[in-house]
Symmetry: C2
Subunit: 583 residues, 2 copies
């Protein structure tokens, strides 16, 4: 090893020892006769000191060191005169007797600091320098810890890590596949997996009984912020279980991760039905760090002569605790906020629940104080609170109210990123109907089974069949989801037929799975967690990018290596394909 | 859980308990009034017993159970009258009181037994059934254990697991890439990584200092037996190290794996130079489980009037211990063996070192016994041994002798698959010259550094520059290899130029790496292990296929899911590509 210690471990107990450190020059300062150099590595920063009086030539050389030079320095650990209690190594400094430049650096295009002056594009282009910054490096280190602890838990529970193939078969169902032309089978293509779904089910048929994998998956979708064409899942499947077993097993995983990685104790997870989540929070991934449940006022407020309410499909309200003193200006601003095109509401009605108990609304013309009291009661409003009301088309209004609720939670500081509220959302609809075509789509995927008690409705009333499915939601983020699967060939066929597959199509695309079900497929189910998202949540970040070492930008490009790129005509010819556009 | 116990855990200590088991019907036997059913799961086999006298209807139902039916059985644990000491559960049986068929099975296309009657093709098509067979399932379980222990060791040593991207950039250098057409950047392609080489070097530039990943890699090569288009590596890289540090760290890994997974203590690894490996074993991955070193007899035997020797570039010999009694027939058969087209020797010369000390050769006409004594001395032959001699062109003859040595080792039982001899092969040539074009190729890859003491020869005598590289060889199998990398932009440019890259080509393909070297790249090096191969070696198998859950066949096809396959014209159109051949 070129070093005896790292830049993060030395303290007073090492005083007097001769050590060798390697690292990058974070910064250097000339203070008269002394030169200080902060040397950085993955483990921390250690202060090196050079003295003009005791060794002028060495000190002069040290003054030539630029930012991000890599050096190896030998010296003695000494107590600092002015200590820095914020740093692990803040009690000591190294009196350098000898050093060597291992590699020089030209000036980096942005500062390698906690907060950098580099814009997004520049940092993506020089990702290897961005990764040197503590917040990004720590995100990657956190991800490492998460991966190790996840495997440790699942291994302890008897799960077997099995690699499923990356070169698989394209299935038009679901999202768009990335495909790979086959040179040896010209005219044919592999596809990259959107998930190992069918393979993990086959592993259950094989009898592996508890499978997991932390695995790359691929979706060729138009990218939104924070969607990556390649992403990572914690993918799991179990046999001989019922839903309750899966919920307990993976509740256990999440508790274990919080405990081991963040030293946080998570209480037993709340469970909420899809129907209640939609009703009380306006979406299927409620942020339960705060209440502020949505109340429906429709029947209470209609037919009182207020056209906005009378014309609305729904009228919904939330009670914002302690916000009765909101000013006219604040309320106007909130009104503009709900009128933004993203939400598209026509306006915002409010009721101030004053500290003296009186109620004052923006629709006093239509509603007496007695009537407003009913609103207050329906929203559990107390003196000092503010009731916010939206009206309009059902789904749009509920969605807007959900956003408004989150926004008010944010403004009131109720969404602390260091507080974690984990919940299961259960009983999703099995199918959704496409409004235009009337065609049924699987809400989760076509391998999801119905709740046993709803199975009889599959033909007569498919829209009301609930799935034996579950999502895990943490702080309003869906981090994982899964289901008990179909393990019976006939039911699987029936499902494909309901989804509009002809028998032939179903057999062509998923015949291998349905055939496998004929050879003794056990009852099974599973779950997959979005690992990038889970890591960013643990890291208290909104963005998943910093938790991926080499992410792609919103056009799916890696601007660092400049990929995708044109390939040679020889390569195309060997693969038996041509590009339609002149590249 | 549908079960209370697994089929592998019950013994006499459970006697009298009521248990519920789930599993597959391995076989059933009707013995008069009793029916025995062997129930199998991942953990073992437990015998169920049904009694016609005590419960005729249940017993009659049990007699309907076919092979591979999945059932759930409730019953009482009881001591067996005739115990089976070979099974963990051989002391007990379950007196079944109730059972349920969870799923029926049609007759499997081959027997689900240790040894099966199914041919390769059939087993690949029904891979999910083949995986039920104990030897295949155990191989996958072994792989799981290997992966967990590998990560445990590397995590303990401070390595960070970092996922590198799968959608990267095609580089024509090296093996053929699999490519992925980009829909969002039409006319452009991603490539799947042949290894994460450049990314792990960038991670060193970022300061991660110890990186690892168990990662899928891809090569679009014509497949030979036991080569897969997708394969898995244990990929590692370290900074601020020298070769010795890497050797110790990964010698540590392999020892740890042998200890934890196989309870085998591996002594300190032998080290052998590439030159010595070629000289004494005829190849660069010597099987050191036995000696039988190759001796060069050329100068000893030429100019004695034997044309075969006189015309040969080299004459080499091995001494086969205790084989002096080989019959004429055996020697003729060996002669035919070396004359096969794969080796292409013109003949085999032998010297029997008889037990009375006399020497009798197939070339007595040309060589006196005194001369043969010199051969015996050169090959360290003793009474009772057999000396085998090959002559011809240097490289072909050494290669044939290497094969003959392995063959004789095999025949003498010196290659026990439960004995493990691990070694480092060092000091490979940095470059090899293409005989036709005279062009230099990197023997390892273009990022490998030269041994510091040979660096000065890079311009004047490139063929004699040794690489700062190392391979780990176990039992004659190369399981891993790596090198200390170049971390200086100028040297990297010089290397690319030596390899025939124009500055422009080098910049276009590897500019991102060379540019990164300008921002303070630390000295670094690494290694990659072939994980599939390592697992098969630990499993005592010649074939890697059983250690891959879903392997592809020799034409790169997954015959189970029937992939690759034709994709729709819509898909092609969206991607902006066409296939040249009518599919």
């Amino acid at each position: 090893m070129l070093r005896t210690h790292t830049c993060g471990e030395l303290n007073l107990s090492f005083a007097g020892q001769t050590v060798t450190l390697c690292g990058w020059v974070q910064k250097s300062r000339d203070l008269g006769g002394l030169t200080f150099v902060d040397l950085r590595d993955r483990y921390g920063i250690t202060q090196l000191i050079f003295n003009m009086e005791t060794n002028a030539s060495l000190c002069t050389q040290a003054r030539q060191l630029g930012r991000e030079f890599v050096i190896k320095a030998i010296g003695t650990v000494a107590e600092r005169s002015s200590k820095n209690p914020k740093m692990n190594t803040g009690d000591i400094e190294i009196h350098v007797t000898q050093f060597e430049i291992l590699n020089a650096s030209i000036t980096p295009p942005f500062t390698i600091e906690e907060e950098t002056d580099g814009g997004d594009d520049l940092r993506m282009k020089y990702r290897y320098l961005d990764l040197r910054r503590a917040p990004v490096m720590n995100s990657i280190l956190l991800r490492h810890r998460m991966a190790q602890e996840t495997r440790k838990y699942l291994d302890m529970q008897g799960f077997v890590e099995i690699e499923t193939p990356v070169l698989i078969k394209s299935t038009p169902e679901g999202a768009r596949d990335f495909v790979v032309p086959s040179r040896m089978n010209q005219g044919e293509f592999y596809a990259l997996p959107q998930s190992p779904q069918t393979f993990k089910q086959l592993l259950m048929v094989s009898g592996f009984d508890k499978y997991f994998q932390i695995v790359k998956c691929f979706r060729d979708e138009d990218l939104r912020a924070d969607r990556q064409p390649e992403f990572t899942q914690i993918d799991c499947e179990m046999s001989f279980i019922e839903r309750e077993d899966i919920l307990n097993m993976f509740e256990g995983l999440v508790k274990y991760l919080f405990k081991e990685v963040k030293q946080v104790d998570i209480p037993k997870l709340e469970r909420i039905s899809y129907a209640d989540a939609m009703k009380y929070y306006g979406n299927d991934k409620p942020d339960l760090r705060f209440g502020m449940q949505i109340a429906e006022l429709t029947s209470l407020v209609q037919n009182k002569g207020f056209k906005v309410f009378d014309d609305a499909e729904v009228v919904v309200a939330i009670n914002v605790t302690g916000a009765s003193e909101y000013t006219r200006k604040q309320l106007d601003e909130l009104t503009e906020w709900v009128k933004r095109p993203q939400l598209g509401m026509s306006g915002l009605i409010y009721v101030k629940h004053n500290s003296d108990g009186t109620l004052k609304s923006s629709v006093d013309k239509f509603f007496s104080e007695d009537e407003l009291k009913k609103w207050a009661s329906a929203t559990s409003s107390n003196s000092g609170d503010l009731i916010l009301v939206l009206a309009g088309k059902s789904s749009k209004t509920r969605k807007a109210m959900s956003e408004l609720r989150l926004e008010m939670g944010e403004r009131l500081g109720l969404r602390d990123k260091n507080t974690f509220k984990c919940a299961w959302v259960l009983d999703f609809p099995l199918l959704e109907q496409d409004e235009e075509s009337g065609r049924w789509h699987a809400m989760h995927h076509p391998f999801t089974s119905a709740l046993p008690e709803d199975l009889h409705l599959l033909k007569s009333d498919p829209g009301n069949v609930r799935a034996n499915a579950y999502d895990m939601v943490i702080n309003g983020v869906e981090v994982g989801g899964g289901s008990i699967r179909i393990h019976d060939k006939q039911i699987q066929k029936q499902m494909f037929s309901l989804l509009g597959f002809s028998d032939e199509e179903a057999q062509k695309q998923f015949g291998f799975l349905m055939n496998a079900f004929e050879f003794g497929a056990p009852p099974h189910g599973g779950i997959a967690f979005g690992f990038d998202r889970l890591c960013s949540l643990f890291g208290g970040s909104e963005s998943i990018r910093d938790f991926i070492a080499f992410p792609k930008n919103n056009s799916g490009r890696d601007v660092m290596i400049d990929s995708p790129s044109v390939i040679s005509l020889d390569q195309l010819k060997e693969l038996g394909i041509s590009t339609n556009s002149p590249a």
